[in-house]
């Protein structure tokens, strides 16, 4: 049995790592040594997900040294974030959000997005690899010996599609990590809860319960539905559905408050960042003490004079209620769809941030869209709710969300949800990941569910092309919804032929709602069907005598680590080719 397991929460704005010795049961959250100033290494529970790409000669030699790397050319963590606020063109941030960005070459050196040409950029995959390496080295340093973990559980948003998961694995590989298994973050949060609650679990949930996990991180919002069922007298947990990838999180909340308070003040970029942190602290102060009417924020000037140059601001409880609670958790109907702003002709390809900050509207859309498991109701009725993410340290945000959901439920003839008192909101994902490793060794209850999407390859029908008219694309189901790890599915014989020596590209679709499609099912006009989303195309190139046609069968496999693999098997002969997801661009 594996002895040392580690769980990694690779977050958009903060990372955490936890470990356990499965034989002795020892282990906890690992303190992460990181630069807090040049030449100064301190331990923190979280590693801010920022990389500062230093210019040669910018710092004295050895100033960026870490216990495991004497001369790095970059800084990671707290100092990177703090100094990067003054030199934004060299700061890599939100790499995780770029990993799931479908309109861009995600393996290309893109970041920092706004960097001038002379800055050597890195890819989102490379940035993720650097965080992972830093985390694992921290763990090794904490054990004071150079041993590798036998198992690593790496968490990803449930909404990450097959390509984003593949890229996360690629980052793990670049960081030199071995025996990595992926786990969805909302599941990790539930595992942390299960571990905390222990045997009391059976008293807290019952058969027929539907647990809604609402995970609002720094940069993303992630929903999952997990059903409690029974088999042979044992309780079972099945993940039934996951939400879309929503780039909206706690950072957006602090930014919105800062923009509000910055009105009429002349702040430079660094002061604005200081104001944003100030807003976060003031917000937490107000949320912690309901009697406070307002919280003061001081923004220091850049110069050495502090007295007289400090700008004052004040966050009031009114602002908080109006901007945060009503802005981010508005009272909305369950059928009210998230608003999408009209796109201008010339949009810069930045991150596709959610255009509607209303988390309740995104949640309503998610619950209503899963009509196939709603059992005849207007939307899926959750019976319990588990919150995750530092945002929910503010009880008022939880209360409002529960209030809105209960309003939906009562209008649709349901009963109110109850809150499952969660584990630590910041560290639950890393802790839950380690618990999952324990569960994988046959202890405790495991959440089942398989893939949260069905996958399809696009098949273009043979028809004459008409100018200005896209021929309808048929979708051939290659991997059904809920395919379990370690299983594979053969697509019934279809007429596929690959041309040797030339790249063959398939358009690739996913659906998070179509759970009835079986392997080999053909669905008409997928591109115009709202139940499908087009993901990164897949391609392969067969080496060999050019121009020859090879008839093949398709096979899909969900690997043990949780990634999807598509293969072409030669019909007559033993040829096998892996189809690679082309993450460079959606348009292939």
């Amino acid at each position: 049995m594996a002895r040392h397991v580690i769980g990694i929460d690779l977050g958009t704005t903060n990372c955490a790592i936890s470990w356990r010795d499965l034989e002795e049961g020892s282990g906890d959250v690992v303190s992460i040594p990181q630069l807090t100033a040049p030449g100064t290494v301190e331990e923190r529970r979280l590693l801010p997900s920022f990389i500062y790409l230093a210019q040669e000669g910018e710092f004295p030699p050895g100033a960026l040294a870490l216990p495991w790397d004497k001369r790095p050319a970059y800084a990671t963590g707290e100092f990177a974030r703090a100094h990067g606020a003054k030199v934004v063109t060299r700061l890599v941030a939100s790499a995780k959000s770029w990993l799931s960005h479908t309109n861009i070459d995600r393996t290309g050196a893109l970041l920092p997005w706004q960097a001038p040409p002379e800055v050597e950029r890195i890819s989102p995959v490379e940035a993720s690899a650097r965080y992972l390496k830093h985390l694992v080295e921290s763990w090794k340093a904490s054990l004071q010996k150079d041993s590798d973990a036998e198992e690593i559980i790496l968490t990803v948003p449930a909404s990450f599609d097959a390509a984003a998961r593949e890229l996360t694995m690629q980052a793990a590989g670049q960081a030199g990590l071995q025996n990595v298994t992926l786990l969805e973050e909302p599941q990790a949060a539930l595992y942390a809860w299960l571990e905390k609650i222990g045997d009391g679990f059976r008293k807290q949930v019952k058969v027929g319960d539907v647990i809604l996990v609402v995970d609002v991180g720094g940069g993303t919002t992630d929903f999952s539905l997990i059903a409690v069922t029974e088999q042979n007298g044992d309780l079972q947990l099945t993940r039934m559905a996951v939400g879309d990838h929503i780039l909206l999180g706690g950072d957006n909340m602090d930014l919105t408050l800062a923009h509000h308070l910055a009105q009429g003040k002349n702040l430079d970029a660094w002061q604005f960042t200081a104001l944003t942190y100030g807003c976060r602290e003031a917000k937490e102060l107000l949320f912690a003490d309901p009697k406070l009417k307002k919280a003061p924020i001081s923004i220091p000037g850049r110069g050495s004079a502090l007295i007289g140059a400090t700008i004052k601001a004040e966050l009031t409880r009114d602002d908080l209620g109006r901007i945060l609670v009503d802005g981010f958790i508005p009272k909305a109907g369950v059928t009210e769809l998230p608003r999408t702003a009209r796109r201008t002709g010339l949009t810069q390809v930045g991150l596709p941030y959610a255009q509607d900050p209303g988390i309740t509207r995104h949640l309503g859309a998610f619950l209503a869209r899963q009509s196939r498991i709603a059992e005849g109701k207007a939307f899926v009725h959750p019976t319990a709710i588990l919150f995750n993410g530092g945002v929910f340290k503010a009880a008022i945000l939880k209360q409002r969300l529960v209030e809105v959901i209960n309003d939906w439920l009562s209008r649709d003839g349901g009963s109110p949800v109850r809150e499952l008192e969660g584990a630590d909101l910041d560290l639950a994902v890393a802790r839950g990941a380690v618990h999952y490793a324990w569960v994988r060794h046959g202890h405790g209850i495991r959440i089942r569910g398989g893939t949260a999407r069905a996958y399809y390859v696009g098949v273009e029908p043979a028809m004459p092309s008409v100018p200005g008219f896209d021929p309808p694309i048929k979708a051939l189901c290659v991997a059904p919804f809920g395919m379990e790890e370690g299983t594979k599915a053969d697509v019934p014989p279809q007429e596929f032929a690959l041309v040797v020596g030339e790249p063959t590209v398939f358009r690739f679709f996913a659906s998070s709602v179509r759970r009835e499609d079986r392997v080999g099912d053909m669905i008409d006009d997928a591109a115009r069907n709202e139940e499908f989303e087009e993901v990164a195309p897949i391609e392969t190139t067969l080496s060999g005598e050019s121009g020859k046609l090879v008839p093949v069968n398709l096979q899909a496999a969900v690997t043990e680590v949780g990634t999807l693999e598509l293969r072409c098997l030669e019909k007559e002969g033993g040829g096998r080719w892996k189809l690679e997801m082309n993450v460079r661009t959606k348009d292939g």
């Binding site: 040049p38 030449g39 007295i307 400090t310």
Partner: protein
């Protein structure tokens, strides 16, 4: 000490090492004060970095209103408080509430309890707790690179256009 040197090779090693260090220190010149007190300078740098303490103390506060000083003090208080909590665990030396009567027992620790007022006679004493004192129970100082000059509390900042 001789017998301890005999039975503990490790300790013997330490002693030899210590003697050698002292010898080499004598041979070279003594470490400069900024190296001897590097951790004190580091603390100043941390309070400046997080809470702008040096800026605040180096500025002449005369001529500014209490409100202006108050706004600046918030920056200092918020940042230095965070740093203090990161480096040290602090608890009161006496658990009694300030202003409440307190008995100072026989054999009290004069390092942790200081007597004021009419100090005479033998303990136990009955008195009133005026200040509960502070004791550090945990220290987590950062590790500092030996290659950097600890005298630089904060560098000059030059913004390029």
């Amino acid at each position: 000490m001789a017998w301890r040197v005999l039975i503990s090779a490790e300790f013997a090693g330490e002693v030899t090492e210590g003697l050698e260090l002292r010898a080499s220190a004598r041979a070279k010149k003594a470490a400069p004060p900024e190296r001897v007190h590097a951790s004190g300078l580091m603390l100043l740098a941390a309070f400046q970095r997080e809470g702008r303490l040096i800026d605040f103390l180096q500025q002449d506060a005369g001529g500014y209103s209490d409100e202006e000083i108050g706004a600046a003090a918030r920056v200092v208080h918020g940042g230095c408080r965070k740093t203090l909590a990161q480096f040290f665990d602090l608890v009161p030396a006496a658990q009694t509430a300030e202003g409440a009567p307190m008995t100072v027992p026989t054999g009290f620790d004069p390092e942790r309890i200081r007597l004021t007022g009419n100090v005479s006679g033998k303990p136990p004493f009955k008195g009133t707790l005026k200040h509960h004192g502070w004791i550090v129970t945990g220290v987590r100082m950062p590790s500092i690179s030996e290659t950097l000059d600890p005298r630089v509390i904060t560098p000059a900042e030059v913004e390029l256009p």
